[in-house]
């Protein structure tokens, strides 16, 4: 079996394991390349009929192209599409220009997720985070419990041996399932290329710039690039020495922003 197929097989196994163990699960989809690849893997795992909701945590600050992408694919793929928003905080004026990035992410992303999970009473959620994105995410488990305060106890994580994962959400608010942990940025692009997965045009260069990583429009910056096709993106990534999240504003706020955010329930 070739390497990409090995990676895909592991991801499908983890997704199926989560559904078998928990049944009441959801998939977080940000319309970025990673979560769209995970959505694709879920379609493969369940033969086109994903048996759980696909959830977009909408801060209201996403790129216009991401909303269009979401609506198109939700229709084409007949997804059980849900949109979660912390309307109370947004109406109260919370946003990226008020306070710190931690406060804004916490309020508009983490709190929105918290409220929505409580509403749907989900036992587990699938997320497309990867180990190579950030050193804190490199510490993660495939099945990672969150307590009733949504906190991640990174100092005492459950052991995981031989595809035996945390099998119950007892004692936790929910379990985060990370089927793509083992894939790198380059693996994702090669997988997108092989499978012909729809990809947001923001990832491709316009006027000498493209986005490596997508989040809220105000907190993402494009980098220099002339890559206008998947092949060119792959060629660029094979030689770059710039990290993927170097253009994400919240990562620059403090060396431990990601750790703080994740310990409070961020993705």
């Amino acid at each position: 079996m070739d390497y990409l197929s090995e990676l895909e097989s592991k991801s499908i196994y983890v997704v199926r394991e989560a559904y078998s163990r928990f049944k009441d699960i959801g998939l977080l989809w940000s319309m970025g390349k990673d979560s769209t690849a995970l959505l694709w893997i879920c379609r493969k795992a369940f033969y086109g009929k994903i048996p759980f909701p696909v959830i977009h945590i909408d801060t209201g600050y996403k790129f216009k192209e991401m909303y269009e992408f979401r609506d198109r694919l939700a229709k084409e793929w007949d997804l059980d599409m849900r949109v979660a928003k912390n309307t109370v905080a947004i109406e109260a004026g919370m946003g990226p220009h008020v306070g710190s990035k931690i406060d804004c992410c916490n309020s508009l992303k983490t709190q929105a997720l918290k409220d929505y999970l409580a509403e749907l009473n989900l036992k587990a959620i699938l997320l497309a985070i990867r180990r190579d994105e950030h050193g804190i995410r490199a510490k993660e488990r495939y099945f990672s419990p969150r307590d009733e305060d949504f906190k991640w106890n990174y100092e005492d994580q459950p052991p995981e041996l031989w595809d035996q994962y945390k099998s119950s959400s007892e004692g936790s608010d929910h379990v985060r399932v990370h089927p793509m942990l083992h894939m790198t940025e380059l693996d994702i692009w090669r997988y997108i290329q092989r499978e012909n997965i729809p990809t947001n045009l923001l990832y491709f260069a316009r006027d000498g710039k493209r986005y490596r990583s997508l989040g809220c429009e105000c907190c993402c910056a494009p980098g220099d690039s002339n890559a206008t096709t998947i092949e060119e993106v792959i060629a660029e990534l094979e030689t770059t020495n710039i990290s993927e999240r170097s253009y994400r504003a919240q990562d620059k706020e403090d060396a431990y922003t990601m750790q703080k955010l994740r310990s409070l329930g961020y993705m």
């Binding site: 079996m1 070739d2 390497y3 197929s5 090995e6 895909e8 097989s9 592991k10 499908i12 196994y13 199926r16 394991e17 559904y19 078998s20 379609r43 493969k44 795992a45 369940f46 033969y47 086109g48 009929k49 180990r131 190579d132 950030h134 050193g135 804190i136 490199a138 510490k139 488990r141 990174y154 100092e155 994580q157 459950p158 052991p159 995981e160 041996l161 031989w162 595809d163 035996q164 945390k166 099998s167 119950s168 007892e170 004692g171 942990l181 083992h182 790198t184 770059t240 020495n241 710039i242 990290s243 170097s246 060396a255 431990y256 750790q259």
Partner: protein
């Protein structure tokens, strides 16, 4: 041509330099983006420290402030020959469950030994776990050679001690390499300070480790993960752990050796008529009315061992000791059944491999037991040396994984 990939775990006693070694390895091969180095330099400056290579993997604030690795990390590293996943493992005894989590995913290992301190308790315990996990591709590095003046005599003495321990537990190391992770000797480039050493650098040694794909030619073992009803079809899904399947194969469904035939092999969006070892796939079956998770498909000429009595070797990872006949859960592949440890034939100290007690009644944290496990229902297993994917299991107590083990008979 696609580059081969390989997963290596870095193990060893606390403070022997595992994380620093990994950081140096990545730094010397330009595997860390400059912007990430800048962040680490800034953190070190604020802590009043020189550049700490260990901070490349020790990313949690508490790890950096205390100077210890708490949990395993996986980081990606590339040579001209291969793409690697490097798994950093904590060295403290209290973090053994995290060490085993990391090591259980590896295909090879590097044991880091401080040449100045020599072989210590966790050095041996980690080596013992590598043996239990059946890792065949192993390297030993004797670190901090700068602190012993690059002494050949010290190198030989420590090498002898650790090599003898490896031999006593039935594993082997291809190379024993003198290095200094802090200075960079013999990591990516040969050091002039060890002219008496004529072996490879660490990069060369890692590149020489071999992949073992023996399982691809073994008998069919297809454990069932779930069953889906989609568009009027009952699709049995799972991952093929050994062997292959094709349309029309006549198989057994275990337990019970029910005769079934593969009607279709299904992949979303593609036509499929066969599937290989390692693939997560789905099939429809003729001859099976009620298929469940935990059951297993095999060829008709070879069946898994069906038993309620498993002879195994286990590593107890939980602070609370286990007692004989205490109720646990046995989890092997997709199977999960209640069980108990009926007999602890031997209780072993994993840091010395010494026998502590025969016919013991309890097993404590970090102890190894040669045991007989009795399950409430029959399970389907294999000897770990024959088909590892069906020969390794975990034990659970109140939904907490408390031990890992291998089937020995």
């Amino acid at each position: 041509m696609e580059k081969e990939n390989f997963k290596i775990v870095i193990v060893g006693h606390v403070d022997h330099g595992k994380s620093t070694f990994i950081g140096r390895l990545l730094y010397d091969t330009d595997s860390i983006p400059p912007d990430k180095i800048e962040v680490i330099e800034q953190v070190c400056f604020e802590l009043g420290k020189p550049l700490e290579f260990a901070f490349i993997t020790d990313q949690i604030r508490e790890e950096r402030e205390k100077g210890i690795t708490i949990d395993t990390t996986q980081i990606f590293f590339y040579t001209d020959k291969r793409d690697y996943v490097i798994i950093d493992a904590p060295g403290h005894k209290e973090f053994m469950k995290n060490m085993i989590t990391g090591a259980s995913q590896a295909e090879g290992s590097v044991l880091v030994v401080d040449a100045n301190e020599g072989v210590k308790e966790q050095t041996r315990r980690h080596a013992y776990v590598l043996g239990l996990l059946g890792l065949r591709e192993n390297i030993i590095i004797l670190n901090k050679m700068d602190l012993v003046n690059y002494s050949e005599e010290t190198y030989n003495a420590v090498k002898k001690e650790i090599s003898e321990f490896y031999k006593s537990i039935g594993i082997a190391a291809t190379y024993v390499i003198p290095v200094s992770a802090v200075v960079g000797d013999n990591i990516a480039t040969k050091s002039e300070k060890t002219p008496w050493y004529d072996g490879p650098t660490v990069i060369e040694a890692i590149d020489s480790l071999k992949k073992h794909d023996d399982i691809e030619n073994a008998e069919l073992r297809f454990p069932i993960q779930d069953v889906y009803n989609i568009d009027g079809k009952k699709i049995v899904v799972g991952r093929i752990e050994s062997g292959q399947i094709k349309d029309g194969d006549q198989l057994f469904l275990h337990p019970g050796k029910r005769e079934v035939t593969i009607s279709e092999i299904l992949e979303f969006g593609h036509e499929k008529h066969s599937a290989d070892c390692g693939e997560s796939t789905g099939v429809t079956l003729q001859g099976a009315s009620d298929v469940k998770r935990g059951e297993m498909l095999s060829g008709r000429n070879s069946s898994p061992i069906e038993t309620t009595k498993i002879h195994g070797t286990i590593f107890w990872m939980f602070p609370m000791p286990i007692k004989v006949n205490q109720t646990l859960a046995f989890r092997c592949n997709t199977q999960e059944v209640p069980c108990r440890i009926a007999v602890i034939k031997k209780r072993i100290d994993s840091s010395t491999s010494a026998l502590l007690e025969e016919n013991a009644t309890t097993l404590g944290e970090t102890e190894v037991g040669e045991v007989i496990i009795e399950t409430d229902q029959p399970v389907l297993v294999e000897n770990f040396l024959d088909i590892p994917e069906l020969g390794r299991f975990v034990l659970e107590w109140r939904e907490i994984i408390v031990a890992g083990g291998v089937v020995t008979g």
